[in-house]
Subunit: 218 residues, 2 copies
């Protein structure tokens, strides 16, 4: 197993500069707790995201590799699926209605696509946190910066293993993930993609502890 390079701030390429496509990592990769990474996923490759210890969320964002205005879209995906909970056989769409991912396997069946990645401001607003708090949003935008993706381009993420329920009055509850050690999801890339992936930093989404996330490109 290789340790994925932890997210680190990178200077942003100038607007319009060509995106540098790095090779996809080989073998099983581990994202340390409360961190994130970014990588290329070629069309036809499969991304397997594994919860190695259980009850740990992983936020996924993606843009088309050669066309970064084509971005993952929660609103399009939910509209086309006609449901909140996407699983095997469902697709994740871009903002221009092209299919980015197809879900090929899913041993959990409960992932969130409503909420934005946790952020510094979220910890301050919802939890009155003071001082820096690691967050999926920071880990995504610092990891994706080296591919020319700006923070404002990162919208609602596909929050793998995140357990969000809605009651009949529309109240949103974030519960303990259903994932147990070894549970996984496999997403097939339907276009060349730049992906950002995290081991989520929010206490409230991961039953109070921070664990790693494993992934492999098949």
């Amino acid at each position: 197993m290789n340790l994925a390079t932890p997210a680190r701030p990178a200077s942003l390429p100038a607007a319009g500069s060509p995106i540098r496509l790095t090779e996809s990592p080989r073998g099983l990769q581990r994202i340390p707790p409360q961190s994130g990474t970014a990588f290329i996923l070629r069309r036809g490759q499969r991304l397997k995201v594994i919860d190695p210890l259980g009850e740990q969320v992983s936020d996924l964002f993606a843009v088309k590799a050669d066309e970064p205005a084509c971005r993952l879209s929660s609103g399009r995906s939910l509209d086309y699926a006609g449901k909140l909970y996407l699983s095997t056989g469902d697709a994740l769409y871009a903002n221009d209605s092209r299919v980015m991912f197809s879900i090929e396997e899913d041993t959990v069946g409960r992932h969130d696509f409503l909420l934005t990645p946790c952020s510094q401001e979220m910890f301050e607003i919802l939890y009155r946190h003071e001082g820096h708090h690691p967050s999926c949003f920071e880990n995504l935008h610092t990891s994706l910066a080296r591919h020319g993706i700006r923070p404002e381009d990162i919208g609602t993420t596909f929050n793998i293993f995140m357990n969000v329920t809605i009651d009949p009055q529309g109240r949103i509850t974030v519960g303990v993930p259903h994932s147990r050690a070894g549970d996984h999801i496999v997403l097939r890339a339907e276009m060349d993609l730049i992906c950002g992936l995290t081991a989520c930093s929010a206490e409230g989404s991961n039953n109070g502890t921070f664990k790693p996330i494993d992934f492999e490109i098949l």
Copy 2:
């Protein structure tokens, strides 16, 4: 009553060019069926959106006037509200967690913030429509283009009067709007905003007929 200028294609200002702020329209404005418009809303001004005939949806999108990377965010707003259905007393947040709008009045209480505006591709994918179909997405991006907003910057809209329900299994149903003739919502701008607003073009969201939407800046 004035007829709002129908959306028309406009050449996009060069990236980084200053945004030209036009004056806010005065008096009661009417957006004709299946069209849209864009306007400036200054901090402290109130936007009153009225359903003049009943059962008609109006999609709203906004960016900060002097900082277009600051955009309306469904995912942040739902996370901070902890509920799907925003109404009087709730706030609509930007992607950077600043408050864009506060809802001051709401005679309906059922609006959607899950789904992206209807688009040409949506009519093709969900309804097998052939040929051009007017859509909120087209009406928003052509109206907002003259303010330098690009299509890819338009994410999930606040879909005023749209009646979307979720069953316990997470299935999404688009129902008949609860709004009756004269129902309205009043949103206070908490920053200077560029707003796009439509009279929705989707048969399925408006009980089969297309009606106008009225608005007034107070």
